[in-house]
């Protein structure tokens, strides 16, 4: 594909000053020099555990939190925005093109508004429709796509289950016709039987409306089934990125390998597969020097404690940040 990627970041950093009072504020590097490209039309998975910075990265790309370093660009064929300096009318326009689906279906919907009003709110705020009829038509259209019927539109959120609320959230995100959606742990709070349903809906919407998704999740199995490209983050850094099949067939980074072996298998006899990690995830305010993962890495050497590994490219769209990836053999059974 020779098109420019929809989103491309270069050494993007997002930092926060934490701590109270006027003294003793430490810098929390939530996202630390991340460079990635999201192709138009792809379903891009961003995986990590707590403190990985994946949620912060997603929100930074939507301008919900300020970026403190590096660059990010949005090119959808119609516009070309520099996300680090976006403001004013350009920012308003960007908001029409990029939206967020939240994790918690219970907190993301105002309990005092009817479903119709919730879905219509973006249209009203952005001034995309002129009459009430126009708004109603668009709301009904997107609600139908999310399998919500007319009766549902009249009700309040308390009448719905988690899965249904998530569909309302999705409808709200889509009503303004965005081409880029960040789904922040959008199925994490859902039951397994509903999760599959919502994921299928997202894939369907992607096909029908040609939307690019940034799918943030901690659940590798879900990501494996829905995404075509996966990036793994640890303590704010991008440690590995590859097309899905390749990543799952041959992960290169020790952390990625550990993530796989940590997933409990449905086969009761398949136990103790691969390397289990010891130790705790370091606090983001107190990050280890050198390679952030060295404190838990079973393959760490002296160099890992002092030098941060750069992102290297083994080829075929695969990227990995590890000093020893060449030496370490693939431990996953084919």
């Amino acid at each position: 594909m020779t098109d420019a990627p929809l989103i491309s970041t270069s050494d993007l950093s997002v930092g926060f000053r934490t701590g109270s009072g006027f003294f003793g504020k430490s810098l929390l590097k939530a996202v630390d020099h991340v460079s990635l490209d999201i192709r138009k039309g792809s379903f891009f998975g961003l995986v990590g555990e707590s403190g990985s910075g994946k949620t912060t990265l997603g929100r930074a790309l939507l301008k919900a939190v300020p970026m403190t370093g590096g660059t990010a660009r949005f090119r959808d064929g119609e516009v070309d925005y520099d996300l680090t300096t976006l403001s004013g009318p350009a920012l308003k326009d960007y908001r029409k093109r990029a939206q967020l689906i939240f994790q918690d279906p219970y907190a993301a919907l105002s309990p005092r508004m009817t479903v119709r009003d919730i879905i219509a709110e973006p249209l009203e705020v952005m001034g995309l429709t002129k009459t009430r009829e126009e708004t109603d038509t668009r709301v009904r259209a997107i609600a139908a796509k999310c399998r919500l019927n007319l009766e549902h539109l009249r009700r309040f959120p308390h009448a719905f289950s988690g899965g249904q609320r998530q569909r309302i959230s999705i409808a709200r995100a889509l009503v303004s016709g965005p081409k880029f959606i960040v789904a922040d742990e959008s199925v994490a709070a859902l039951d397994v039987s509903i999760q599959a349903d919502v994921l299928n809906l997202l894939k369907e919407l992607q096909r029908d409306l040609q939307i690019t998704f940034l799918f943030i999740s901690h659940d590798l199995s879900v990501v494996a089934h829905t995404c075509d490209q996966v990036a793994v983050m640890y303590l704010g850094r991008l440690v590995e990125s590859a097309p899905t099949r390749r990543l799952f067939a041959a992960p290169r980074h020790p952390y990625t390998k550990a993530l796989f072996s940590a997933i409990p298998s449905l086969d009761p006899d398949d136990r103790g597969r691969g390397q289990k990690l010891t130790g705790e995830i370091p606090s983001p305010t107190n990050q280890p020097p050198g390679c952030k993962f060295h404190t838990r890495c079973p393959h760490a050497i002296a160099r890992c404690k002092t030098d941060e590994p750069a992102l290297e490219h083994p080829g075929d769209g695969h990227e990995v940040a590890c000093h020893r990836w060449r030496e370490l053999l693939d431990e996953r059974a084919a």
Binding site: A64, A107, S110, E121, V125, R172
Partner: protein
């Protein structure tokens, strides 16, 4: 072995379910409130008393000011209407006429005697002294009165012959009015200060918090004593009335402001507010569409709970002489007379307004509690 299950113990029919699904927050709160018996009883009592206060002139047979006093019946005991006495039964309730005489036999002091032979029948919807309801609607009709020249005093009279029943009803109105004004003033101030602090956060919040806390630490009694000393004697009761209300409002806003600030701080971080902001919603939209509706129910509860404090404050102040004074009719002013030993021994009916005061405050408190429980979605361990 299959068990047929025709009857489901938890039966809820379809219409009720749909009603639940489409019920707005306000409707849900009201439904929960209705289920709370204590609160509903208190609510009815409150409505009743408010009505009594508004229609006080209609319900009072006599002008509660000095103009309507009964010279023939000073410090008179309550006269309860009878239907039956030794002379026979009567459909129309009646009281006995009273006569006042002064003679050498009584050492030239006025003595009031009851003439049990002369009956004064009660009449309903009589014409009497003129009034204006809420200062707007004129009228001269009163609910009841008696035949002839006599007067009926259901709660007795005070030292100058003013009918306590009439005074009490008008006093309810005055106390409510002062309370309402006080609550309104404190609410407006609390909304502005608490609102700004809660919405912007940061250093603005810190500074406003310091101001709020400073005002809260001011002790109210000494403040009022100082102000009472300030108040010129020539001020009319009206002016005093407004002055007291304003002062109560200025003292009362910190508590409300703190509550508003807390509500706002919580609401601002809700995800659906972030969702609106991500669409590019302006601050005005967020405030109007999300923040204000979200804390309306809480604020109504807070206001309801503030009322008894205002009424109590006014009453307390008037009682100790720093607020409204006789001859103004307020519950506190009425109770001022109660503390004299003379009254305690001989004229116990002076206490009747106290009952009304207690009832009014309790009604507010129970309604406020009921509203708070109804609005709080986490209180489900009551039934």
């Amino acid at each position: 072995m299959s068990v047929p299950s025709e009857t489901l113990p938890a039966g809820v029919d379809q219409k009720a379910k749909e009603a639940y699904f489409t019920a707005s927050q306000g409707q849900l709160i009201w439904a929960r409130f209705k289920g709370n018996r204590t609160a509903m009883i208190a609510a009815w009592a409150l409505v009743l008393m408010i009505m009594m206060g508004i229609f006080a002139p209609f319900l009072s047979p006599y002008d509660p000011t000095i103009a309507g006093r009964d010279e023939n019946y000073e410090n008179g005991a309550p006269q309860l209407p009878k239907f039956w006495d030794e002379n026979g039964f009567s459909f129309r309730p009646f009281i006995y006429a009273t006569e006042r005489e002064r003679s050498i036999k009584t050492n030239f002091r006025w003595v009031v005697t009851e003439n049990r032979e002369k009956r004064l029948y009660m009449r309903f919807f009589v014409e009497g002294w003129e009034y204006r309801i809420l200062r707007v609607i004129p009228g001269d009709l009163h609910l009841f009165g008696v035949d002839g020249d006599g007067k009926i005093h259901l709660f007795g009279t005070d030292a100058s012959g003013k009918d306590i029943f009439s005074r009490t009803l008008h006093a309810i109105w005055t106390s409510l009015a002062v309370g309402t004004l006080g609550v309104l003033i404190s609410f407006v101030l609390a909304l502005i200060i608490g609102g700004v602090a809660g919405y912007f956060g940061g250093w603005i919040d810190s500074v406003l918090q310091m101001v709020t806390d400073a005002i809260r630490t001011v002790p109210s009694i000494p403040l009022f004593m100082a102000l009472a000393a300030f108040m010129p004697d020539h001020w009319s009761s009206e002016t005093r009335f407004f002055f007291i209300s304003i002062i109560l409002g200025l003292i009362g806003w910190p508590t409300l402001a703190r509550r508003i600030r807390t509500h706002l701080l919580t609401e601002r971080t809700q995800e659906y507010v972030l969702a609106a902001e991500l669409c590019g919603a302006s601050a005005g939209h967020v405030i109007r569409r999300h923040l204000l509706p979200s804390f309306t129910s809480y604020i109504i509860v807070d206001l309801m709970i503030s009322f008894p404090y205002m009424v109590r404050s006014e009453t307390a102040l008037s009682f100790i002489g720093l607020g409204l004074k006789d001859p103004v009719n307020s519950l506190g002013a009425l109770m001022q007379n109660v503390s004299k030993a003379d009254v305690l021994l001989n004229y116990q009916w002076y206490f009747i307004p106290v009952i009304f005061f207690v009832a009014l405050v309790l009604a507010f408190v129970f309604v406020g509690d009921g509203l708070r429980d109804a609005a709080d979605p986490y209180s489900d361990t009551k039934k």
